[in-house]
């Protein structure tokens, strides 16, 4: 099921919240679990079995790890290794097996060795996200940063928590554990959650989905010229931001409606002046996961040089996004750029007279990177890059302008204005901490504006039906 769908909004959400608030507090974790399983099974009930199996695997290892962590540390480490390998094996099979066979066949064919085929494996929704949460649980229990879940229901509710199940934000068990036992339920928090949900709904349905026809038109052109390659990728990038940050806002808002506080996932990524800064502003919970569970263990436990650890981490981040060479190159280029930035200290010198140029340059480089990201196909992304470099001619915007609706172009303008206002708000906030900002408190005319946007978004959804969130494919 998708947050931005009529069934979710008109049926699932009101029913779930009614049952949730009518249930006794001690039953609420069970309500969350049942509701989340129903939410997940809506797409493919058969994959629920895998989901339950992964949950139980990690729950059981969590208890063993806690038992042997101090009395038999070597056994505990082996148990941890088995638990993590089990999780990665599931991820590897469902996410990378098709790609692996493809690559293997490409290697075998020139050698005259018979190639083989594998039945097409469907990637279960949210797998990359819930496997990461499961890994964070066993590692935290092993490290002693979290107590193991007392009941399977508590742990399963953490893994399955439907607001963040499909595409994050990726949660740490230690932060949710406390909230599963006791959390705040108040009108203030519910109202804030409802407002945040509405904001995310507007971003996704009204803006991201309105930009989709233009982005689709550009991205379906196999051989774009200079103008269409740049504009198309830029529009797709903006669409992706509104889509994913809209999803994250909705998830955070839904969490608040149920008394949870989730971590923030975005902090105006278009303001970044370097790749390093971009990853401090985009998909923050993934960056946090990679830092805690990949980068730091590599540096601290394995003694890997910080630069190499960064390289490996960013390469893995690229591959995590998808099983294709395009994502591999996305990770590779990101890693190289971040190493360069570290080498020349571009990140640690935040104030220079050239900040405007740095900002522009980084934005252009990020748009170029989106060629890999928004196609997921190396050949197609290279054609886009060829177009961006002017090797495929100047390109024409005329046909796109003729064929694009003016409504779509108006929404592109709305999106850009939104980004400029949000960007300025963000800069001012950090320059003068404590100063009030737009939509900080949703009341008065700001509440009116939010409700107007929400009403427009609901009507747009009713008119057009839903479209899935882009990050669901990861």
């Amino acid at each position: 099921m998708i947050f931005a769908s009529n069934v979710f909004l008109f049926l699932y959400l009101p029913l779930f919240l009614a049952v949730y608030y009518l249930a006794r507090p001690q039953w609420r974790s069970l309500v969350i679990l049942a509701g989340s399983y129903l939410f997940y099974a809506w797409w493919r009930p058969d994959f629920l079995l895998l989901f339950v199996a992964v949950s139980y695997w990690n729950y059981a290892f969590g208890r063993w790890l806690h038992q042997y962590r101090q009395s038999a540390p070597r056994l505990a480490f082996r148990l941890l290794t088995v638990a993590v390998i089990g999780n990665l094996a599931v991820l590897g099979y469902f996410k990378y097996a098709n790609f692996g066979v493809e690559v293997l066949n490409d290697l075998l064919q020139p050698l005259g060795i018979d190639t083989f085929t594998l039945e097409h494996i469907i990637l279960p929704l949210g797998l990359s996200f819930y496997i990461f949460q499961a890994i964070s649980y066993v590692v935290d229990v092993y490290r002693g940063h979290a107590q193991p879940a007392r009941h399977f229901v508590d742990f399963a509710a953490y893994i399955a928590l439907f607001p963040q199940l499909i595409a994050g934000p990726i949660l740490h068990y230690r932060t949710i554990d406390r909230q599963l036992r006791q959390r705040e339920h108040s009108w203030e928090l519910f109202s804030l959650g409802a407002s945040r949900f509405m904001l995310g709904f507007i971003k996704k349905v009204l803006i991201a989905d309105s930009l989709a026809p233009l982005a689709n038109r550009f991205l379906s052109n196999p051989d774009p010229g200079f103008a269409d390659a740049w504009l198309g990728t830029a529009v797709a990038f903006i669409q992706l931001y509104f889509d994913f940050s809209g999803y994250s806002d909705m998830a955070i808002g839904l969490g608040m409606m149920m008394g949870f506080r989730f971590a923030e996932n975005f902090n105006q990524p278009f303001l970044a002046m370097s790749f390093t800064e971009f990853w401090r502003r985009w998909h923050l919970t993934l960056a946090d996961f990679l830092q805690n569970y990949v980068y730091r263990p590599l540096v601290k436990a394995c003694g890997v040089n910080a630069g190499r650890a960064l390289f490996v981490t960013m390469l893995l981040s690229g591959i995590w996004h998808g099983a294709s060479f395009a994502f591999f190159f996305f990770g590779l280029v990101t890693a190289l750029m971040m190493l360069l930035e570290r080498r020349f200290r571009w990140v640690t010198t935040p104030r220079t007279p050239y900040n405007g140029w740095r900002h522009l340059l980084n934005l252009l480089l990020m748009i170029m990177m989106m060629g890999f990201f928004t196609t997921g196909d190396l050949a197609h992304s290279l054609q886009i890059h060829q177009g961006m470099l002017g090797l495929s001619g100047p390109g024409y915007l005329e046909p796109y302008l003729l064929a694009s609706s003016r409504l779509t172009l108006a929404f592109v303008l709305v999106a850009v204005v939104w980004l400029v206002i949000a960007g300025r708000t963000n800069l001012r906030f950090y320059a003068r901490e404590g100063a009030p900002y737009l939509m900080q408190e949703v009341r008065g005319w700001q509440a009116g504006l939010l409700w107007l946007g929400f009403a427009l978004a609901v009507s747009r959804l009713a008119a057009n039906s839903f479209s899935p969130f882009l990050y669901f494919q990861f």
């Binding site: 009614a18 797409w43 495929s392």
Partner: protein, 368 residues
Amino acid sequence: MFPVMTRASRWNGYLFCLLLVAMMIYGVPQLLRYAVSQDQALTLYLDGELARDFEGEFDQQLPLRDLAIRFWGNLRYLVFREGENGVVLGQQHWLYTTEELVYPSRLDTVLTGHLSRIGEFREALARRQQQLILVPVPMKVATYPQYLGRTLPAPVARLYPRLIETLNQRQWPHVDLATAFHQPVGDDERLFLARDTHWSPRGARLAADTIARTWPELQGDRSFRTERLDESRYQGDLTGFILTSDGLAEGYKASEVVPRFETHGDLTTVTSAALFGDQGDRGIDLVGTSYSKIERWHFAGFLQQALAREVSTFAVEARGPYAAMERYLADTHRDAQPDTVIWEFPVRALLQPLDQRKSWQQSLDEQF
């Protein structure tokens, strides 16, 4: 610390709750009604089909849906003077499909790809001892640019002459319809409907006559007579892109009058050779798209009359010209193949790159 919402008025929460209650009052009976009507609910549920089916029905029956569609349709028309994605509003209530206006950035490469694909089909037919005559159908936007209300992009305007020039150079048999289509005709003899993608019966007849004039050697000895029956009102396919409320943009939603035709063969002209088992005239095969498939345009009937030969139609709607030809070539069950195949080929198909990519949004939409 992030500059995000930190507080909200309680009224937001109260209002949202009220909205949820209203939604529940609407949604739950829908769910119950659907659940009662299902016989094999468990089997369908396990396939994931039940959820998709319910969701589709729920979306369609949403009372807000019609209101919302009209609201956005009105907004688009009143503020932006446009219809839904896919249509261009012209002058005097003419509508055009955007497929005729969007051209790829490297049209040369795209055209080369199409020509080699056409060449492959030509060779496949030649191997079956069949001659291919390509009949490129001009674009409505190039035939009637005067109603577009803006300048026709040069690559679009030049597309047809470029194609004919290449076909001449390669000496591929073809029919140039554009010259005939650009002759002035009266308003009541329009070659395309104002609010439909396709040609009118007048355009279809002109195309058939032009084919017969260009290829006199195709003339047979059968006699066919086409009779005009009556007129009926027809809602053009492009009016489906104008989703405004009643009373708004009515001119763009108006139906058009289309005459109906019927073609009869005269059995007395069948040759004695055919009657006594000789193959005789094996007719002509017409392969094409909706221009040939939709009986309202009566293209096959006009072609039979113009060529005085039996015409068998192999047309596929809404899949482009290649799908029809692929299906035609795959059909190997016929005893005798005619010597000539006429391929009705809408020129706008040449603007679509053959290796068009699916965007990630389109791939995801298919998954759900």
